[in-house]
Every structure is written in C-alpha cells, then in structure tokens.
C-alpha cells in the first residue's frame, strides 16, 4: 500500500509539472499580445503605441527573456509566493485570487456534498426499486440532468424563483458571516446549477453499479442466509457498489470548477471562476495562468486522493 501511495503521489507530481508547462506554453505561444492590448487601451486607439514603452513593459513583466528562462523564473517566483501582477487591474494576482477563492470553494464544497449525497441516494433508490414508476421518473430526470446546459437551467430557475416567485435574489454573494440567511438564499440556485450535472451523473452511475452488484452470487447467498434486507443493502450491496462512485469523485471536482466559470458569471458572484472568465476575455494572462493552474492543481490533488482511497477500498487496483 505504501509503495502504491508513493507511486500515485509521484505520478501526480509529474502531471502537475506537465500541467504547468502546458499552461505556460498555451499562454505564451498563442497569438494575442496582452501588453500591446494594455498599451492600446491606455492610450487611445488612434494613437500609435511607443516601442520604447513596450520594451520597458516587457522588461517589467520579464517577457524579454527566452521561453525556458521565463518558465523557470515563473516557477521560482511562485515558490516565493509571487504570482505576478494583474495587467489590467494593477493588483497582485495572489491577492485577487485569495479574496475570491473562499467564495468558489464555499460553492464547490456545498455543491460536491449535495451532488454526492443526493446522487448516491437517488441511485440506490432506483436500483432497489428497479422498474417501478419511481425508478423511471428518477432515471429520466437524471438523463435530463446530464443533458441540460447549466446556464440554461440557471436562467429557467432565475426566471421562476427569482423573477416570478421572488423567493431568492437573482445574483450576488454576501459572506455567510455577515448575513447567513441572505447568503443561503443567494447560493441556493448557483449551488444547485453547479451540482446538477454531478448529481445526475452520480445517480446514473450508482444505479448501474448497484444493479451489477445486486446480481452477484454473494448477494444471493446473503439473502439465502436469511439476513435482513437492511443488512444486505448496507453491508453487501452499497459497500461494494460504491467503489466506482469514489473513482468518479475527481470528475465531479473538475465539473464543479469548470461550472464555476459559467455559473459565477451568470449569478454575478465574485469568485475565481468569474475572475478567470473576465481575465480570459480581457487577455489578462497573469490572472489566467495562475487561476487556471490553481484549478488544475486542486483537481490533480483530488485525483491523487481518489486514487489512494480507491486502492484502499479495492486492493486489486494496487497491483495494476
């Protein structure tokens, strides 16, 4: 087990290194010069930019050095806690992200809990009540859930609960420490929309895994031994049927961070997702590279955690 854990962590670190290279190259090699954009925004569009000023800016952001040197100094700076400065907002990127990260994490964690608890719950109900109307309805809803565009679900819910019924505000985010009730009402819709896909995917996955386990010989043996239904379901079916769901957790995390880009923009929430969207549209690449990297590194860590717990749950995996 220790060897397996060390291998997984090592692989994860390699993935993180590759990811830093990918992010770095994507931003440097694709067209679109952020400094030029910055200069033309600063001065008016009809005046030509000053080449000397451009060179000065390039030196300030370290863009005049060759690519490998830029990469190394970028990594070295990050280890010192220096993530660069936003070109358009003129603020340190670390401050911008630190301000917004708690918001994104708050939404994502509640979304993850919601998607896991209800997704697994619905999946178990479907599998145990297979081919009843309850199964049909829940499975159909799950099929809709993996299909519906999150932004459209958000707009439908805003229209119904925000505009028509007026039960919840249609956007914004207040810290739960300032006003817990307002915060709860503000995050109900965003969290639901964020977790909708994961919830539906979990329901479908749990249902099919449980159905597979229910057909196993040891489950029949458990029935034949005369065990109570509750014991069979909890000890024999759920415990074994949930292993693939754990493996799916990393996708859930990736989906939540990916969704935050759209949902935070739509609900006007000051989180990292919206910061990233505005930065990409405004080509503020210091923000783009740091927040993308942050998301991807968090996803990789959750991948490692999932792999390790997976190996612990199912010993066969360790010897792959």
């Amino acid at each position: 087990m220790t060897g397996y854990m060390i291998r997984r962590v090592f692989m994860g670190l390699i993935v993180i290194i590759i990811v830093t290279i990918l992010v770095f190259l994507l931003i440097r090699l694709l067209p679109g010069d952020p400094l030029l954009m910055y200069l033309t925004q600063q001065q008016f569009r009809d005046t030509l930019y000053d080449p000397a000023q451009l060179a000065q800016l390039q030196a300030r952001f370290g863009l005049d050095k060759p690519l490998p040197m830029q990469y190394i100094s970028w990594i070295a700076d990050m280890f010192r806690g220096d993530f660069g400065e936003s070109i358009s907002l003129q603020e340190p990127v670390s401050k911008l992200i630190l301000d917004r990260m708690p918001v994104t994490l708050h939404l994502s964690i509640i979304g993850a809990i919601f998607a896991t608890v209800f997704g697994i719950g619905f999946g178990i109900i479907c599998a145990l009540r297979r081919a009843t109307w309850l199964d049909t309805v829940l499975t159909f809803m799950a099929n809709i859930g993996i299909t519906i565009p999150s932004f459209w679900a958000a707009i439908l819910l805003i229209y119904l609960f925000g505009l028509k019924l007026g039960w919840v505000p249609i956007g914004g985010y207040t810290s739960p420490f300032d006003d817990l009730w307002l915060n709860t009402r503000q995050i109900v819709l965003p969290v639901f929309c964020l977790s909708l896909f994961g919830l539906a995917a979990n329901t479908r996955l749990t249902r099919s895994c449980m159905l597979e386990v229910i057909a196993q010989d040891y489950v029949r043996t458990a029935w034949a031994k005369g065990l109570k239904e509750r014991v069979i379901v909890l000890r024999h079916i759920i415990k074994n049927g949930l292993i693939p769901i754990v493996a799916n957790m990393a996708f859930l995390v990736a989906g939540l961070f990916g969704g935050s880009v759209i949902i935070e923009t739509l609900f006007n929430i000051r989180g990292v997702g919206r910061l990233l969207t505005t930065a990409i549209l405004g080509q503020d690449y210091m923000i783009v590279q740091t927040s993308t990297l942050l998301f991807v590194v968090l996803i990789t860590f959750s991948n490692i955690a999932v792999d390790i717990s997976y190996g612990w749950l199912d010993p066969r995996i360790r010897y792959d």
């Binding site: 993935v15 990918l22 099929n143 459209w152 707009i155 880009v261």
Partner: protein, 305 residues
Amino acid sequence: MADSSKSGAQLNDAIGLDVPLKKYSEFRRTVSVFFGRPLPVVGLVIITIFIIITIFGPWMAPYDPIIDMDVMNSLAHPSSEHLLGTDELGRDTLSRLIYGARTSLFIGIVVIGVSTAIGVFLGLVAANSTGALHHIIMRITDGLMAFPAIILALLIAGLLGGGLQNIIIALTVGMVAPVVRITCGMALSVKENEYVTAARAMGAGNLNIMLSEILPNCFAPILVMMTMGIGSTILAEAGLSFLGVGITPPTPVWGRMVNDGYKYLLTNPELSFAPGLAVMLVVFGFNMMGDGLRDALDPRLRGVV
C-alpha cells in the same frame, strides 16, 4: 454417431428439433436490441429531425436569420407571423434557431471527427510503443485530462480569438485526451487476446496487427464515445458562445442567443428559453443514442438486454 450418412434434416428429426437453424447475425441482434427500448429510439428520432433541419434549414426557415430585421416588430411575442417572436433587432427567433442548428451540428461533427482521428492514432501508437514514447503521450494526456473541458476550451478560444475555425481548434484539443486514454486502454487489453498472438505467429507485423486485429475490436467503444462526444461538444460550444467566446455575431448560435435573450428575461423569456431547449433536446438525443448503442454493442450484456 453410428450412421454417418444421415443428412442434416434427418439429424434434426432424430434430436426432435423441427425449427430450421437460423443463421446468427450479430448485426441483426444489435439492431433489435437498440430498437427494443424506447429511449434510444427517441434519441434517434431527435437526431434525425435535427439533421433534416440542418440540411433543409434554408428552405424551412421563414425569414433570413441575419438580414431580415423587422425593426418595427422588435421584441415581438410569438404570433402567426413570427412563431417564436423576434429579438431586439426584429430578427425572427425561429429562423435563427434553424440556422443555429447548422452551426452546432457542423462544429459537433468536425470536432469529433478530427479529435477521434488524432486520438485513436495516438492511442494506438501509445499502446504499441514501450518506454519513452508511451510515457510522453500518456502523461501529456493525463495533463490535459486534469483541465476542466470548458476551461481549456475557453482558454484556447480566448487566446486565439473568436471565429468558427478557432472554436473548432479549442474544442478539439479538449476532446482528444479522453479518446487517447480509452483507445490506449482498449488496445492494451485487446492485445492480450489469443487471436493477436495467432496473427503474430503467422508473421503479421506491428502495423498489420494494429490495423486489422486491434482497431476493429476497439470499434464499438469508439463509436459510442463519438456519439456521446457530439452531444458534449454541442453543449461545450453553447457554453463558450454563452460566455461570449465563440462564433462572431451576427451568425446565429444557440449559446449566444440564450445570452442575448437573458437581458429580456422578464418581458420576453422565450428568447432565452427556446435556444436553450434546442441545445438540451439535441444533446439528450445524442446521449440516449449513445446509451442505446453501448448497451447493444457491449458483448457482456448479450442476452441480458
């Protein structure tokens, strides 16, 4: 058997079997499983209608989606003149929806075609090479898989700028990695089969084995992945154009239509509702068809469904 001169018919009589032995067709079985359940058929019907709309759209649309601006009638509610109403420039929503279908399907097919070709090639190469090449391909795949698809596409599209070609590139990059991983995994497990050893014993080379033994046996999961992939590409493209990265206006695209209509949610909700519903129906169609294909093609489920 004592009398070896007995014909097949006599043998049938002897064992009491009067049903003529039918030739077993795998294709026929797959088709009957696929059509045996309602949801895959619903999916197929939706996709067929969608394809008909994309082909015959210009003859079906009542107005031109871009130049027919009925300014006097802007933000009109649904009426017999404009079945789904008009947007803020007086353009007919139904016509824009019909033309938007073309963009969606075109992007979906091109992105999935290109990414499957690249992904299958790289996956087969990775499965058949040992050492450095295998690790380089698979580790870069791992790296790409760690990005949420929408963020990777947004990043590339944002840096390349809008336009059809750039959106296709951005979405393709994100779609390649899962194809590589699944093809490589499939190919590695297919390689363990006896018929591959047999082919090798008969003197078949690496390339020959890859193309005529391994690739055909990876076909089913790749087909399922392509079907579902078109759906998720259409969904991702809608997300990108919703955020304002994507096909440049005035070309009608569903995601942007949802966003444009969002401003008028209180007065004209149909402007946002209609294109979003279109995205959902089409993606639902591809997902259900993919589900049906997977169940029909999976040999482990033979006889179960």
